[in-house]
């Protein structure tokens, strides 16, 4: 098991955002976390990457308890994240953004290799190499955020709403790339509102409702679950 979350509770001041959620991600999997707005998907991601302190419960990554570990040290351990709202550095060029992704690494050769790999994965980024991150379109920023997370060579890649605000064609494209990244050996935990796409691409999925996990199963099972269908897929 690469990631194991046990009974995680998280507070925003007095408001409880997560009510003891547990989930696991196995090596090589794509796991989708779906749910409505405010269900706690992004909060879960921020807890895993260390941007938000946890009240109770534990996060075990690759056998090590990282619950109280500093966020930057988790990156070194192999947790990479493409944050919600993209979070690219607006003043840095595409290349500089990608270089920031490799901040924890010192193997120049390997970094150059990965840079090429990302450029191959996202030819649009190669075209915009010198352009400032803030001037890219939404889709390009999304690609940059994913590419930048890959630059750390993460063992677990956290993707927070990669399809948010994208045109349908781009959504299709970004999910194809996610599958390809997974096939190249990176484990992925994916948070999405676009349940249809996420579940059809994922090995397993969890459904989050107001800070609790209410359902789990394989991607296909959830896709055909009547309750899930009604609530998240827009079909009765």
């Amino acid at each position: 098991m690469l990631l194991e979350i046990n009974d995680l509770t998280l507070l925003y001041g007095r408001i409880q955002a997560l009510h003891g959620i547990s989930l696991t991600v196995n090596e090589g999997e794509v796991v989708a976390l779906i749910g409505a707005n405010g269900a706690g998907k992004t909060t879960t991601m921020r807890a895993i990457s260390g941007l938000r302190p946890v009240a109770q419960g534990s996060i075990i990554f690759d056998g090590t308890d990282v619950t109280r570990m500093r966020a930057d040290l988790r990156v070194v351990r192999g947790i990479g994240q493409a944050p919600e709202g993209r979070g690219v550095f607006p003043g840095m060029s595409v290349v500089e953004n990608l270089e920031m992704g490799a901040y924890t690494r010192r193997d120049r050769g390997g970094i150059a290799e990965d840079m090429k790999m990302v450029m191959d994965l996202f030819p649009r980024l190669a075209e915009r190499r010198k352009q400032a991150g803030g001037t890219l379109s939404g889709g390009e920023q999304q690609m940059l955020a994913v590419g930048r997370a890959l630059m750390a060579r993460p063992r677990l890649l956290l993707l927070d709403e990669p399809s948010m605000g994208l045109a349908p064609m781009l959504i299709q494209q970004i999910f194809e790339i996610i599958t390809r990244i997974n096939e190249q050996g990176t484990t992925i935990l994916l948070v999405e509102q676009n349940a249809q796409q996420a579940l059809s691409r994922a090995h397993r999925g969890y459904v989050l409702e107001t800070g609790r996990i209410v359902k789990e199963g394989t991607g296909q099972d959830l896709l055909h679950d009547p309750a899930v269908k009604e609530a998240y897929l827009g079909v009765a």
Binding site: S49, G50, L51, R70, A71, D72, L73, V75, V76, G80, Q81, P83, G87, V88, F89, P90, G91, M92, E99, M100, G101, Y103, T104, A132, G133, G134, T135, R148, A149, A152, G165, L166, A167, Q193, G234
Partner: protein
């Protein structure tokens, strides 16, 4: 409109500058440095045939002693360069910067002055490194708890810090000797060729040269730092702290570094200032000065070392020069008196039309453009 035009112009200059061969660029910089060293010399103006005496022109000021004005300007420039590390590079709004300047000055005063209650009577030179250390360590102590705060909170806490230092200095009769201050601070050491001390009371030129040399050294150090991993981490923190953290940047550590380096530069400046002034009291460390340094950094272009230099130089020098012009045309108008008012207005205008400053940093300009985009309501893409 003006902003875009200016951008194009600076971009043109920048690319032409970058296209020049390295030797030419170094020669140009060397020439500028030499000019800066020559600036306070009377013979330089006599050689050029400029009248000196009752008539003044160009960049000369009517202040009886031009070198003194240059020294004050250099003090201000070094302060701006140091604050630029904190505000410009790491994006931390530090309003208490002058507190470190005061700490540096008081450390030197207390350790060296025979009038000090400490009675240590250290030579000036020995006290300077300690003053820098004291400022730096207080930077770490203040930064430790406060750098976990963001934005406005940090500004308020640092503001409180600077006022605490000043109030303590003005009320404490025992050590800081209140309003009376600490007199008889020794000058820097050194003997001139004529056997007289190099650093005296009358001639401000040696102090200016000393300051200029220190500015150059500090600039080299900071420039190297800005181009290193540390500098990249600062930029990342300034642009998006959360994103920086998930790239593996130890954000707290680097914020603390920026804070401590800024404090050390301020402490150094204060130490030199005390050595020239020979007398300090709390009146020399008022809040306005703290704000004025910040205004200088913003005016010049936060995040850009050149911007900080230009901003610092203009903020201090221009009012002095205008005073000279006023005297020349017979208007008794002291521009320096209105410094705060004028720069308040200028900063507001700058924030509206050119928030990235006069000499903008390329990245910083893009960040402002990005922030502007966010402020405009965007067309929402329907979900289905």
């Amino acid at each position: 409109m003006t902003a875009t035009v200016n951008n194009k112009r600076t971009a043109g200059f920048k690319s032409r500058w970058a296209a020049m061969p390295k030797q030419v660029r170094w020669a140009a910089i060397a020439a500028l440095v030499v000019l800066l060293y020559i600036l306070p010399n009377k013979w330089f103006y006599e050689y050029l045939g400029f009248p000196i005496g009752s008539d003044y022109f160009a960049f000369y000021t009517t202040r009886s002693d031009f070198a003194g004005v240059l020294f004050d300007t250099a003090v201000f420039v070094l302060l701006a360069v140091g604050l630029n590390v904190v505000v410009g590079f790491a994006g931390l709004l530090d309003l208490g910067y002058f507190g470190f300047y005061a700490l540096g000055a008081y450390t030197v005063a207390l350790l060296t002055s025979p009038e000090s209650r400490f009675g240590t009577n250290w030579p000036w030179l020995a006290a300077v490194p300690l003053a820098v250390m004291v400022a730096m360590v207080s930077g770490v102590i203040l930064g430790g708890p406060t750098l976990r705060l963001r934005g406005d909170y940090l500004a308020i806490v640092t503001l409180g810090f600077a006022e605490m230092i000043r109030l303590y200095a003005s009320r404490n009769e025992g050590i800081a000797q209140g309003q009376r201050g600490i007199p008889a601070i020794p000058h820097p050491p050194g003997t001139g060729t004529d056997g007289k001390p190099l650093f005296g009371v009358v001639d401000a030129r040696p102090y200016y040269w000393l300051m200029l040399t220190l500015i150059l050294i500090v600039l080299l150090l900071i420039r190297n730092l800005a181009n290193s991993r540390v500098g990249r981490a600062w930029v990342a923190i300034r642009e998006d702290e959360d994103a920086a953290e998930i790239m593996g940047v130890p954000t707290f550590k680097y914020k603390l570094w920026a804070f401590a380096i800024g404090a050390a530069v301020a402490g150094l400046t204060g130490a030199i200032f005390a050595g020239k002034q020979t007398f300090i009291n709390s009146d020399q460390f008022v809040l306005e000065s703290s704000i004025l340094v910040l205004a200088a950094v913003i005016l010049g272009g936060a995040g850009n070392i050149k911007g900080a230099i230009v901003g610092g130089a203009i903020t201090w020098y221009l009012p002095e020069w205008l005073r000279g012009v006023g005297d020349l045309i017979g208007v008794n108008f002291d521009a320096a008196e209105y410094r705060i008012l004028v720069f308040g207005v200028v900063v507001i205008i700058m924030m509206i039309f050119r928030p990235q400053g006069m000499v903008p940093n390329r990245r910083r300009a893009a960040e402002f453009a990005d922030r502007r985009k966010e402020a405009v309501p965007q067309e929402t893409v329907p979900n289905e």
